[in-house]
Symmetry: C2
Amino acid sequence: VSFVGDATGGGEFGAIERLAGLFGGLGPGEVGIGDDAALVAVGGGSVVVAADALVEGVHFDLSVLSLADVGWKALAVNLSDLAAMGCVGTRAVVTVSGLDADGVASLYSGISDASAAFGCPVVGGDLTGGPCVCVSVTVLGSGAVLPPPVLRSGARPGDLIWVTGALGAAAWALRRGVWSAALARPVPRILEGVAARELGATAMIDVSDGFAADLSHILDASGVGCSLTRLPIADGATMADAVGGGDDYELIICGPFDIGPGLSNRGLAAIPIGSVVGDPTVRMLDGAPLGREGWTHF
Amino acid sequence: VSFVGDATGGGEFGAIERLAGLFGGLGPGEVGIGDDAALVAVGGGSVVVAADALVEGVHFDLSVLSLADVGWKALAVNLSDLAAMGCVGTRAVVTVSGLDADGVASLYSGISDASAAFGCPVVGGDLTGGPCVCVSVTVLGSGAVLPPPVLRSGARPGDLIWVTGALGAAAWALRRGVWSAALARPVPRILEGVAARELGATAMIDVSDGFAADLSHILDASGVGCSLTRLPIADGATMADAVGGGDDYELIICGPFDIGPGLSNRGLAAIPIGSVVGDPTVRMLDGAPLGREGWTHF
C-alpha cells in the first residue's frame, strides 16, 4: 500500500490525515491521498497512479537481498498497489539515489526482470548520488475500466472476505534473516485483482504492512467490522507472522459470495476467511479480538 | 531535467544509455527514457510524466535551505521538466524518506505552496523512515496537446535559440553558501514552455545541470551545432556561473524566428542568444568553443 495507504496508526497516520487536507483541486471522480493508488483525470483519460519508496536499512538489508531483488521488489510492490484497485500498471518511472554505476546495473537487472514479467516498462526517472540507497517507483495504469477501480471504502455488511494466498512467509524469512523468494521476489496479484474487480469486489487492499493492519484500513474506511474464522498460514510461519508480519503482497478481497467461485473458475486462488459485519467495533478472528498489528514505516 | 535528461557525460550517461536499452514495449508515439519527460499512452489518453529526486547532501544543504524550500523546489523542478516539453503538470505523487513528523510537515508546507502556485495537487505517495532525507516527486500532465510535446531532438539548422531569463543566480548563491530565492524557490517557466510549443518550438530543455551541459543535450539529440553571440548573466554572477552553474530552471528554446515576437506579445521573456548550425562539431559562444560544463549528479 502507498501512503495514501500507509496509515497504519501512530505518527504516520496523523501526518497523512494532515497531508490529505493540504490539497484540494481534484475533479469529480478523482481519488487522492488515502487509498492504495490515486485515480486522476490527466491527458484526456483516467489514470491510476501509485508510488512507494524502498530505503536501505528500513525496507531491505543488502546482506540478505541482492540489489537485483530490491529492483524486482520495488516495481512489484507498486504493481501490487494497483492490483489492489483491480488495475494493471503499464508504465513506470524510477528514481534511484546512493548507488554507483555497477549498483545501478544490478538494481536495474531486477527491475527489468519484473518489468518483463508484468508488462510494465520503465519510461523515465532519475539517477543521483547520495548517502543512502533509496529506490522510489511510480507506476501508472488505466483507470478507464468498468466496473471502476475498487477502493477501500466499499465493504458492506454481509460481504465475504478472501485472501489470495497463505500469509507470513516473508515475515518468517525476515525474522530468520534468510533469503526467500517470498521476501525477495514477491509476485503482485494482478490477475486476481482485476478478476475480483470484474466480479464485483466492494473493497480490496494488498497485505504490505501486515494482515491485521491492512484489513483495518478497509474496515476503518468502510465503517464496518469483521468476523474471521481462520487465516491461511504459510509453511513454517507462525500465526503472529501471518497476522502482523507484512510484506506478503496477497490481496484481501471483500465482496459478494460469487467472487469465490468466479475466481476459482478462472483458476485463481481465493481462500475465504470470514465476513464483514455492520458493527465497526466487532473485529474478531477465531473468537479472539483482532488487533491492528502491522509494521509502521514512519 | 530527468534521467532521461541527466545524461551529462561520464558514468551517468553510459548508465542511462544502457538503461534505455533494457525496456521495450512502448507503442507508436510514446517517448521513453531520454528526454525531459516521458510521453505515454495510459488510461485512454496521452500523459507526460517526469520524476526527479532531491537528496540531502547532494542537491541541498539544510543549513542554507529550509525543508519548506526543499519541498517547493522538489515540485518546481519536476514541473520545469514538463514545461521543457511545453506541457503543464497537473497531478503529483511524492515519496519522502528520512524525516520525522515535524520534518514532513515543514517539507509539505513548501510542497503545498508550490502546488497552489502552479495548480498541481499531490494525490498520493509514501512516507518512510531512513538514514538520509530523500524526496522523490513524479508529476503527470496532459500530453494530448497540439502541437505535440516538444522533444530535444527537433532542433534544425537556422533555428534561433532563446533563454527565458538570466543565468547563474543559483550557482552564485550556492557558491557563497547563502540563501537566495533563485536557489530556494525556483519558478518553473510553464507559461513560456507552453507558449513556445504553441508557437512552433522545435526543441526545448530546462537549465538544471548547467547551460552548456543542457544545450549540449539538445545539440547531441538533434545532431546539430550552435553559434551563440551572448548569454544573459544574473546580477553578481560570473560567466562561469551562467555557463556551467545549473539550477537555473530557465528554458532553452530552439525554433523559428517568430517565437521571439510571439513570446514578447504574450508578455513573456525570451532573450535571443544565437542560432543552430548544421555542423554538429561547431559549438561556439562569443567566438570561443562552448564546453559541456555542468553538474554531473552521478
